[in-house]
């Protein structure tokens, strides 16, 4: 029987209450902890060969008969008014097949608020011809004064929402009682996602149904966005994404390119591809916004944190959302007196978008650097300071954690932390070495609604069917492992069919570290349903009781020693198939589901040139049960490498006078290369969360990027004595921090450390 429940759902730290229907099925107990037959084993990804051999078809590879290509006219100004827009020359040219302006498509505008805002679009038979067609659009701009400074926006009250205020305890009294108070301003830069497949969609009408091929993290979100914006019945929209080339948070909805392709497909009656160039990608598809964080911490001389205060300015851009930069300060430590104030500045800069643990990456940088400055003043070991202020319960609303093994992470960090004397001793010449650490807190519990089916044919093979997407995280593989485990099948007899809203049930977004904890339980429940049916059939066929039968090694096995190949049992059905259905149950009520961890970084700093090299990072995370340790290791390494880029090299640069974006190409915008990668040591606790679902797994995509910047910057302080308070730590920033450290030492009359 279908069961209607009211439950809390969280994505990227945003909680909503919603009704969901879950199937009333027999409860499936969690598996015992530790590696099982397939779950918990290091498994190469099941779609590895398709991807490695270039056989996987991405949205970039979709070609439909008669397909046209779109190109978009974008604002060259950060703020402007289009005084005159004339598409007639484009419409008259016989080789231009479509031309649209703001009257034809709601994402186009005559009042662009950022460099790269879409104004008009054309369609022709090839990408090259279409770009030439942009020259046939007559447009007259009136350039307007842009607002670019987030502090100025706060002063002028140009905000996306009311300032967010949070307070617990008595913060002023706590600061008055503190033995030590540290205060500092931290700044983080704007970072661009730069998934290698740019934002793109191919749209066509098939009768009254709209088909949308799109590089997306959320098939169903695309469907809902289109249905709402164009007032279409959702069932008349089919969204397809079989393989996609990375998202990192920037591909959670339909996005402008989809609406442009739809409008041109409607106008021309032909399929239309709208694929952004790399330069458009770096203008108009989102970013991790820059932040300014003015932070203060107060502690007793024994290291007890008694007061934390932060004022955060998120430079959101023209559109977007003000992320939880305050989150770590409110959630990470057992501090009873906390006050935060957060502004989301509206600026004439490209809109932000969620980017791998949005807000928490930035907020953890500020908070965890501040903690180390505090540890220095208190003369307390930074790891001891964190252990001492460990939170046993969530202090925001008093709820217990569904599981928390952060202290065990700290304990496992000790050997890495203990290396610091040896690392420092390897300093030589201008190269100073040091070690730093930082803690991690983030969401990652997933939630309903998420559904899956498992189909078993007469050949004894299983197919997991669900309309989710694998954005490169290894979701296909993890789902196949879960189904194989439950069905007692070898992995090669399980396939996963995903990526099509018309061919499978509703499935979770691939964001917020929620895919495995949302989809895994639904897949297990569907496999358990199919397994139960097989056992019922076998019991009747072989005149045995169901309770003595189980599925193992591709066989139906009876407690008295009998065994029958699965295909013998399912073969009775000839071409009929067994269909198991499964739903994700609710999260445990009254509990906070979060992920935890710590990273320890070794760095080397050339104090003459300001060059920083990250030499080693040890990452210890608590994310519940690990389904595939091989894929999990890759996820952690990937998060850390993005974190290294965030810390040292990546920065979107803007002309401070005009608001024009300067770093549009991958030549100007410095992503990490293979030469920049440190030694990475990954340790996952792999302790199932006993309160969370039938698999006990949390998400893993985001936790590894959260503490990396702070760990590196704390290591820089350990190596040089310099307080770096802004990202990225390029040479100029590093040399300036070293200079300030020297001046401070000179004022104190002490000999300079460097």
């Amino acid at each position: 029987m279908a069961r209607l429940i009211r439950t809390e759902k969280e994505v990227e730290g945003r909680y909503t209450e919603q009704w969901v229907v879950v199937d009333e099925d027999e409860a499936v107990d969690q598996w015992p902890a530790g590696p099982l037959e397939t779950v918990g084993q290091r498994v190469p990804r099941v779609d590895g060969y398709e991807r490695a051999r270039g056989q996987a078809l991405f949205t970039a590879d979709v070609v439909l008969p008669g397909m046209l290509h779109a190109a978009v006219l974008r604002s060259p100004y950060a703020r402007a008014r289009v005084k005159h827009l004339d598409l007639s020359r484009a419409r008259e040219a016989d080789w231009v097949l479509g031309a649209i302006g703001p009257d034809d498509c709601h994402v186009l505008t005559l009042e662009p608020g950022f460099h790269g805002a879409p104004v008009a679009a054309v369609a022709a038979t090839s990408p090259r011809r279409t770009r030439e067609a942009l020259d046939l659009i007559d447009v007259e701009w009136e350039e307007l004064e842009p607002l670019l400074d987030p502090e100025e926006a706060v002063r002028r009250n140009e905000l996306h929402e009311e300032p967010r205020r949070y307070e617990r305890g008595d913060i002023d009294a706590a600061f008055a009682q503190a033995d030590v108070v540290v205060e500092a301003e931290y700044r983080t830069q704007t970072v661009l996602h730069n998934a290698l497949e740019t934002h793109q969609s191919v749209c066509r009408w098939e009768g009254d149904t709209l088909e949308v091929y799109i590089s997306t993290q959320f098939i169903w979100g695309v469907r809902d966005d289109i249905a709402e914006a164009l007032d279409l019945p959702p069932d008349r929209i089919r969204v397809i994404c079989n393989y996609m080339g990375g998202g990192f948070g920037a591909k959670n909805g339909a996005h402008d390119q989809t609406f442009i392709a739809i409008a041109l497909a409607s106008q021309t009656g032909r399929p239309v591809r709208c694929a952004l160039t790399r330069r458009e990608e770096n203008l108009a598809t989102g970013n991790r916004n820059s932040t300014i964080q003015r932070l203060r911490a107060g502690a007793r001389s024994d290291g007890t944190l008694i007061a934390l205060e932060g004022e955060f300015v998120n430079a959101v851009g023209w559109k977007g959302w003000s992320g939880p930069t305050y989150g770590p300060m409110e959630m990470l430590y057992a501090c009873e007196n906390v006050r935060t104030l957060t502004y989301g500045a509206k600026l004439n800069l490209p809109p932000n978008a969620a980017f791998r643990a949005p807000g928490f990456v930035e907020g953890t940088f500020g908070l965890e650097c501040l903690l180390d400055e505090l540890a220095g003043r208190l003369e307390i070991d930074p790891l001891d300071l964190r252990t001492r202020n460990h939170a046993d319960n969530d202090l925001v609303d008093g709820r217990p954690y569904s599981s928390k093994n952060l202290l065990e992470c700290y304990r496992r960090a000790e050997p890495h932390w203990a290396r610091r004397d040896e690392v420092r001793a390897r300093s030589e010449g201008p190269w100073r070495r040091g070690v730093g650490l930082a803690s991690q807190i983030w969401y990652g519990g997933g939630g309903p609604p998420s559904y899956a089916w498992v189909r078993i044919g007469s050949d004894g093979r299983a197919t997991v069917i669900t309309a989710m997407q694998d954005i490169g995280t290894g979701t296909r593989t993890a789902m196949a492992q879960i189904a194989a485990e439950e069905l007692g099948l070898p992995l090669e007899r399980v396939r996963v069919s995903l990526g099509d809203s018309a061919r499978g049930p509703y499935a979770s977004i691939s964001a917020g570290s929620s895919t495995t904890p949302s989809m895994g339980p639904a897949v297990r429940s569907a496999a358990a349903d199919a397994a139960r049916q097989i056992i019922e059939i076998a019991a009747q066929r072989y005149h045995l009781e169901e309770r003595v039968l189980s599925l193992q090694d591709g066989k139906v096995v009876s407690a008295d020693g009998g065994s029958w190949p699965l295909e013998e049992v399912t073969g009775l059905l000839e071409d009929a198939q067994i269909l198991g259905k499964g739903a994700r149950g609710p999260n445990p009520t009254g509990m906070r589901v979060l992920t935890f961890g710590i990273q320890v970084a070794d760095v080397a700093v050339d104090v003459e040139t300001g060059e920083v090299r990250v030499e080693r990072i040890a990452a210890i995370h608590d994310v519940g049960r690990v389904i595939n340790p091989l894929g999990a290791q890759s996820q952690v390494e990937g998060g850390i490498i993005q974190g290294v880029g965030h810390t040292l090299s990546e920065e979107r640069l803007v002309d401070p006078r005009t608001g024009v974006i300067l770093t549009q190409s991958l030549d100007a915008y410095k992503l990490p290369t293979i030469a920049d990668v440190p030694e990475i040591v990954v340790e996952l606790l792999d302790i199932p969360d006993e309160h969370l679902t039938n698999i006990g797994s949390k998400g893993l995509g985001e936790p590894p990027i959260v503490p990396t910047a702070a760990a590196i910057v704390n290591a820089i302080r350990d190596a040089t004595g310099a307080d770096v308070r802004e990202l990225p730590v390029d040479r100029e920033t590093m040399l300036r921090a070293l200079d300030e450290a020297r001046q401070k030492e000179a004022q104190r009359g002490a000999p300079a450390a460097v």
Binding site: R45, E50, R53, G54, A60, G245, I640, L666, I674
Partner: protein, 145 residues
């Protein structure tokens, strides 16, 4: 009309002078394993080999290829490096992977004794935003095993 030698076959293609090798491979020959991620020679996703030498097909004009043999990922599908990449989990989203493997194969064929330093030098032109670099290094160090 030009003659193009690709993966052991010979093709006749018509192309305007400004057409790139990547456009020809993907658009005219349907060899979509070669990906274009930046279109301006900065990321390495479009890497193919010309007579065994890795080049960026998105900034190589097809008319300049001449008689050189073009090898794309489709011509390397049975190369043991493909196995090594999958075993080492040297791919996540997979969009950069064909280019990585084409570069890696050129490196592995030309230098039998690979070191991490050589791999890091030779592979630095192939960007991977998912961050599979440590696994790529492992694949290149273990592919003969």
């Amino acid at each position: 009309m030009i003659e193009l030698r690709v993966n052991g076959g010979t093709y006749e293609v018509e192309a305007p002078v400004e057409q790139t090798l990547a456009e020809t491979l993907r658009g005219d020959l349907g060899l979509t394993g070669t990906k274009v991620a930046c279109g301006e020679g900065h990321c390495g996703a479009c890497t193919v080999q010309l007579d065994g030498v890795p080049v960026l097909s998105c900034i190589t004009l097809v008319h300049t290829v001449g008689e050189r043999e073009v090898t794309t990922i489709e011509g390397l599908r049975e190369h043991p490096l493909v196995d090594a990449f999958v075993r080492a989990d040297a791919l996540q989203c997979g969009f950069c992977t064909p280019g990585q493997i084409v570069s890696a194969a050129a490196l592995a064929e030309s230098e039998p004794e690979l070191t991490p330093e050589r791999i890091r030098h030779a592979m630095a032109g192939n960007l991977c935003r998912c961050g599979t670099y440590p696994r790529i290094e492992e694949a290149l160090l273990t592919w003969r095993d």
